[in-house]
Amino acid sequence: MRRAFLGEFEEIVLLVVAACPAEAYGVTIWEDLQQQTGRSITLSAVHATLYRLEEKGFLSSTMGGATAERGGRRKRFFTLTAIGVRALNDVQEVRSRLWRAIPPGKFQLIGI
């Protein structure tokens, strides 16, 4: 399978889904995302990303049972797939490899 490209936002959404302790669905992911990043994000952006990730095979979704609080509409719960996990691992590996490649003391030179 072709190595799927993960965008920055996609990566964060994927990580949020992975980090979610309970069943993750649109609203919880959206709230977590805002909380973790501190950014203001529209719900539609989250939805679009979730569905795109599903299409790419990193996420899978199932419809939950009927609910009372949202007019009986069911929730769509997202879970990480094996491919999703591997993609996150790949990304992290690239990152850490790059981090390791940074010469020691470089940041000090910049003066931070």
Partner: protein, 884 residues
């Protein structure tokens, strides 16, 4: 404010409109969840604003696109329409259904096979009709010379299919496009066959006969067979009859020409003429035309034979027609003027060429004078119409029964749909079933065809054989017929049945309501066709009876007609005196042979054409034809034979005489004009068949005219001894003349042979349509009775009588049959009125004919339906009510 505490409607509406359905539920759910949270945090108004704003963010193509294809679809491919195991299942189910519903299957198969057989028969017939004369290798360059007389001021030209001795040779000589010509003249010659003398039809023709036409010779050279004047070509049948062998080449035949038997040498034996040939010969003689005849220019006006020409393949027939007319105008110029002066002819003759292949079915220019099997396209049309009726009715049965029975199959259809059968699959299944039935019917139809072909041949005067079927085009036609029938019968039921809702059909709440209109309409159509044919049959029948039983104006019973060509006056007297010696013979009267017609002037100027009869004074009394005014010929007036004539009423009417006795008739066209006085008026009688009007008729005793036959009146029930007496006397007096006799009343019946045939064919058609309609009705009645068993049971338990139940079950159908008359009778009236217009003496269309037809149709339908109704009404209600 409760209504406000919910997301704005328009936003929801927008969302529902726009979002792809598979995303809608959870997206909208999430939005609502956020809305209610925000409402608690920031209030309704703010939350509503935010909601609307959020919704607007969803209006992007990403959310609009349809769901990605179901991953399931690749795991379970949708079965193709013609999956092998499905087909096997269809076949099993079809055979099972057919086997379980024998009555239904039999009705359908029998109906369809009768319809198909009728259609096949007619295709065969039509094919034969159009194939006439097409076997000649020289087609399409073969033509017959015909002409039409155009009288100024007269719209309709007089057609003439015959020609004389000149047209062939003179046109050929003057037109390079005409390669050769053949004249074909019919004659009657006496032929010696052993010790007997037989009168036989012979044909005289030109030597090129076998080059123009493709009649193969078994022996003899086609090029020279007819060059010698004393040669003869015989058919293989004739050779067999004459010599007992087909190897007749070089043998001698004695044929009476020029008053004595002369030897003719057989120069060729021809194969039997194909049955689809207008030319059918047994004996062919070379045509002989004397030099004097050929020199006499007025022979341009003597038409008595058929002339055929062969054109060059590249010739334009219109150009050739122009050329031959030019030749005629120059060559016959003087004669045309002369004849116009002598006879007062105003008409102009224009020659034209008729393709040989068009002869057989031509109504204006029919085959005659030795050419046989005259036909009319009307026969093909009527027969095709009947066949179409029968086939249509059979298809209607199929449609009706299938739909009516579908109630029983509703469950099957429901189950099929529930387990995933698509509509198209059901259509394929039901169409397949109808084709299966049709196929069985097709096989049966071929068997049926073989069975009825001999009878049909006899009726239609044909020699069709099954071998005719082995023809690519015809086969294609039959296969087309098969496909068409299958489709016609199966398409509508297939579409209807496949449209059943599975829920309804499985709940068994299924009822026919609206669709009954179609069923009713089809029954009405069926019975309209059937009653139309009943009326037609009744009309033809009564017209036929009218023709055969109407008084002809003379007494044709116990009359024997004996032919004797050129019977002299003294011979006639001798024959009479000899015959009168026998006690069984009442009287003898001589008459001219065949039909003579001529013209004469009356009232000085007026020209009248009439039938010209040569008789003696015994003729009218023998036939019991009354003389209205004046007197009959009488031996007491010796001048009668040279100065007097009798005329009939029509003659008087046409001549416009108030006082006919003593009027003068002027035979001006004779070499020496002759004048006669009318001495009596004879009551009109039908001297020709009743399908022709009585025309003017004139009787003479002129000694110069030979008699050609004698009528012998015999005592009733003395046929055997009288015939023996006549034959003995005849052979004694005229040993070398052929002897043949016939009874006049039988001859008269023969004139209506074609009517008799049509009567039979119509009767057949009517019986077939009624039969098929009735078995269809029977099937429907059965199904309807089955469907209503419970109702009938309840009615009986509540006290309904058998007769009321029979009435309940039958009245529906009978009403439909009654309704069909509304359509059938006007159409039938129109059709029979048109047909009867052909007859100058005809029955009047009367109401009783229609009443009888109506009664017949209703009675037949009633018996058909009541059979089932009574059975249903008599059944024990316990049985029908207990079963559930």
């Amino acid at each position: 404010m409760p209504p406000k505490s919910r997301p704005p409607r328009w936003a929801d509406w927008l969302l529902e409109r726009f979002l792809s359905p598979y995303l809608l539920e959870d997206v909208q759910g999430d939005l609502h969840e956020v809305f209610y949270k925000r409402m608690a945090q920031v209030g309704v108004t703010r939350a509503r604003h935010e909601y609307s704003w959020a919704v607007l963010h969803y209006l992007s193509p990403f959310f609009f696109k349809p769901a990605p294809s179901e991953p399931n679809s690749s795991v379970y491919p949708s079965p193709s329409l013609l999956n092998l195991s499905m087909l096997r299942n269809y076949l099993t189910i079809a055979l099972r259904t057919l086997a379980h519903n024998k009555a239904y299957s039999i009705i359908n198969v029998v109906g369809l096979s009768i319809g198909l057989a009728a259609a096949m028969l007619i295709i065969l017939y039509t094919k034969d009709e159009v194939s006439y004369d097409r076997f000649h290798a020289n087609n399409p360059n073969l033509y017959r010379i015909t002409s039409r007389d155009i009288t100024p001021g007269d719209q309709k030209p007089g057609y003439n299919t015959n020609t004389g001795i000149f047209q062939g040779p003179k046109f050929t000589a003057g037109t390079p496009e005409i390669l050769s010509f053949v004249r074909f003249q019919s004659n009657q010659h006496d032929i010696k066959q052993g010790n007997e003398v037989k009168s036989q039809e012979t044909f005289s023709t030109d030597p090129e006969f076998f080059q123009l036409f493709s009649f193969p010779l078994l022996s003899g050279d086609p090029k020279t067979a007819l060059t010698h004047p004393k040669s003869v070509v015989v058919s293989e049948d004739m050779a067999e009859k004459q010599f007992g062998t087909r190897e007749a080449l070089g043998k001698i035949m004695f044929i009476k020409t020029n008053e004595q038997f002369e030897p003719y040498t057989v120069s060729g034996v021809a194969k039997k003429c194909p049955q689809n040939s207008s030319i059918k010969f047994d004996i062919l003689l070379p045509i002989t035309i004397s030099k004097e005849d050929f020199a006499q220019s007025d022979n341009w006006f003597s038409f008595f034979l058929n002339t055929f020409v062969l054109l060059r393949p590249d010739a334009d027939s219109k150009a050739v027609e122009a050329t031959i007319n030019r030749i005629y105008q120059t060559d016959a110029k003087n004669t045309i003027v002369e004849m116009a002066k002598k006879f007062g002819i105003k008409s102009k003759t224009i020659y034209s060429l008729q393709p040989l292949t068009e002869m057989h079915l031509s109504t204006d220019l029919p085959v005659n004078n030795g050419l046989v099997d005259e036909s009319s396209p009307a026969f093909s049309y009527i027969l095709s119409g009947i066949a179409l009726f029968v086939l249509l009715i059979a298809c209607i049965n199929f449609v009706n029964l299938t739909i009516a029975r579908s109630l029983k199959r509703a469950k099957e259809i429901g189950v099929r749909k529930v387990v995933g059968g698509g509509r198209s699959q059901l259509v394929v299944q039901f169409l397949g079933e109808s084709f299966l039935l049709c196929f069985v019917a097709f096989g049966l139809a071929i068997l049926l065809l073989l069975l009825v072909l001999p009878t049909f041949n006899q009726l239609a005067n044909k020699a069709l054989s099954f071998m005719y079927l082995l023809d690519i085009k015809l086969m294609a036609g039959y296969v087309g017929l098969f496909l068409m029938t299958g489709l016609l019968a199966g398409f509508y039921p297939a579409v209807i049945l496949s449209g059943f809702s599975p829920v309804q059909s499985l709940y068994s709440r299924f009822r026919f309501t609206g669709r009954n209109y179609l069923q009713r309409g089809l029954i009405v159509l069926q019975f309209s066709l059937a009653s139309f044919l009943i009326v037609a049959t009744l009309t033809i029948n009564s017209q036929f009876n009218y023709l055969t039983t109407k008084s002809l104006g003379y007494d044709d019973s116990n009359l024997v007609s004996v032919n004797k060509s050129s019977l002299k006056r003294n011979e006639a007297r001798l024959l009479k005196s000899e015959l009168m010696k026998f006690p069984s013979i009442v009287d003898v009267a001589p008459k001219n042979q065949g039909f003579w017609g001529t013209v004469a002037k009356v009232n000085g100027e007026k020209q009248l054409s009439f039938a010209y009869e040569t008789v003696d004074e015994t003729y009218l009394p023998l036939f019991k034809i009354p003389v209205l005014t004046g007197r009959n010929f009488s031996p007491d007036f010796p001048s009668d034979s040279t100065q007097s004539v009798l005329v009939n009423e029509s003659f008087v009417k046409e001549a416009g005489w108030k006082n006919p006795i003593g009027q003068e008739v002027n035979f001006f066209a004779y070499e020496t004009p002759e004048r006669y006085k009318v001495i009596g008026v004879v009551k009109d009688y039908h001297f020709v068949a009743l399908n022709q009007k009585i025309r003017p008729q004139l009787f003479t005793m002129k000694p110069k005219n030979d008699f050609g036959k004698v009528f012998v009146k015999i005592k009733p029930h003395t046929e055997t001894e009288s015939l023996r007496a006549i034959e003995q006397t005849f052979k004694k007096l005229f040993p070398i003349s052929p002897y043949s006799y016939s009874f006049l009343d039988q001859d008269n019946l023969k004139k209506y042979e074609s009517e008799a045939k049509w009567k039979q064919i119509m009767l057949f058609g009517a019986i077939l349509t009624i039969f098929i309609s009735c078995i269809g009705l029977l099937g429907l009645a059965t199904l309807s009775a089955e469907r209503r068993t419970k109702e009938i049971g309840i009615r009986k338990v509540l006290g309904a009588s058998v007769s009321s139940i029979v009435q309940l079950l039958s009245s529906d159908f009978l009403r439909l049959v009654g309704f069909s008359f509304v359509f059938a009778f006007p159409a039938a009236y129109y059709a029979i009125d048109k047909w009867l217009e052909n007859y100058p003496y005809r029955i009047e269309i009367s109401a009783w004919m229609f009443a009888l037809a109506a009664l017949l149709a209703i009675l037949i339908a009633f018996f058909t339906v009541s059979f089932q109704s009574i059975r249903a009404a008599l059944s024990n209600p316990v049985k029908s009510l207990r079963a559930e």
